[in-house]
């Protein structure tokens, strides 16, 4: 099963390219010219999101390198424990919504510290595998639009995130027990 899914993932990019080019040629589309035309808009979009990416990067860095993040961890750790979430996961829970690469580095450290097949290591892995970088996504995606009022999208993301975190811990407990 895992191998099958892995193979499907491996084939995604080459598969898409094959289908698009082959279908284009079959329909007699000037594929090269069409590609260039589209690529131009792609580069424009990339340039447009740059300021938003820089803004979110420095915002996150300010919280992490100043130690404010560490203080928040001490603050919410006890609350999480009441929900059945081990305190050791607090920093991951706080870091994950803002930084994909940062949280992966943290998972790596947790897996090595607590052991590759330990409960904490596994729950950390499940969490990183099932919860998204909410703040980052909102900043960057809306950055490409004229939107100023994001309405309920942040709430939807955070509720989903919170549910995902709790589900990761409890589903893993059930999974291990069975």
């Amino acid at each position: 099963m895992t191998n099958l899914l892995g193979a499907a993932s491996l084939c995604f990019i080459p598969g898409m390219i094959t289908i698009i080019i082959a279908h284009g040629l079959w329909k007699k589309v000037a594929v090269y010219d069409s590609f260039i035309e589209g690529a131009k808009t792609g580069i424009k979009t990339a340039a447009e999101i740059l300021p938003f990416i820089i803004a979110i990067f420095i915002g996150i860095e300010a919280m992490v390198s100043s130690g404010a993040m560490g203080y928040l961890e001490d603050l919410i750790g006890p609350v999480l424990e009441k929900l059945g979430i081990p305190r050791e996961l607090t920093s991951l829970i706080l870091l994950r919504p803002v930084s994909g690469s940062g949280s992966l580095a943290l998972v790596e450290r947790m897996v090595t510290t607590y052991g590759a097949d330990s409960f904490l290591g596994n729950v950390a892995s499940v969490m990183a595998g099932s919860c998204e970088t909410v703040f980052y996504v909102i900043a960057v995606y809306f950055g490409a639009t004229a939107v100023k009022k994001i309405r309920h999208s942040l709430l939807a993301g955070l509720v989903g995130y919170g549910t995902g975190v709790i589900a990761s811990v409890w589903l893993y407990r059930i999974w291990e027990w069975h």
Binding site: L5, F12, I13, I19, I20, H23, G24, S34, G38, A39, K40, T41, G42, A46, I54, I56, I58, G59, I60, E61, A62, S65, S66, E108, V111, G115, A116, D117, G121, S125, V126, A128, G129, S130, C131, E132, V137, V140, Y141, F142, A144, T145, V147, K148, K149, R151, H152, S153, L155, A156, G157, V159, Y161, G162, T163, G164, A167, L171, Y172, W175
Partner: protein, 192 residues
């Protein structure tokens, strides 16, 4: 909203850094992170150009049209107001790229979907229902095979690095249902 969150992050950071006496490291971190941001976008630019180019071919050949028609019924529940076939196809490409672990490509498709939705929204400063729902689904859309995490686990000597796949998928689904529910709740509330 973003003004207070972002402004708050920076100001709180500065206060903490000053209090803990790490202002030097703080400034250095800030300067490094903006360079990192630029490199990240440079990396993304190439992929963005490639997928935008390929999607343009698919648009010209009519592939997007047929693809969108095929998935319309499934997308209709989530995005009842969405009529534009190209947008539907781009959103779906973003979901699929996410599922198959092509993270950067997924970001590219998502940003492009948002640009299209913005146009349909008349560049309004208020996010549309479709935008919110798209974000909600996108944020909880997960990779079927989290390759990086599996690699981390196998490097650390796990006996079964793939054992986290099924719990991850389940937890991701639970989280997605919760996000969609919040969106549907607000859509209904607004219509009343």
């Amino acid at each position: 909203m973003m003004n207070y969150i972002w402004g708050g992050m920076l100001l709180i950071g500065i206060v903490f850094a000053a209090y803990r006496g790490v202002l030097g490291a703080f400034s250095e971190g800030l300067m490094n992170s903006c360079t990192e941001g630029v490199f990240f976008v440079i990396g993304l630019t190439g992929i963005m150009a490639v997928w935008s180019g390929l999607m343009n071919i698919a648009k010209d050949s009519g592939l997007i049209d047929s693809f969108a028609r095929l998935v319309r019924p499934a997308m209709k529940y989530l995005f009842p107001n969405e009529r534009n076939r190209e947008t539907i196809a781009t959103m779906l490409m973003s979901f699929s790229a996410n599922i198959f672990g092509a993270g950067n490509s997924a970001t590219v498709f998502a940003i492009q979907s948002m640009v299209m939705l913005d146009e349909e929204n008349g560049h309004s400063p208020i996010a549309s229902d479709t935008m919110c729902m798209f974000m909600a689904v996108n944020m909880s859309m997960i990779q079927i095979v989290p390759v990086t995490i599996i690699k981390i686990r196998s490097d650390a000597g796990s006996t079964n690095p793939g054992s986290i796949i099924i719990p991850s998928i389940l937890a991701g689904l639970v989280s997605m249902v919760a996000s969609i529910w919040v969106c549907k709740y607000y859509e209904r509330k607004r219509r009343k």
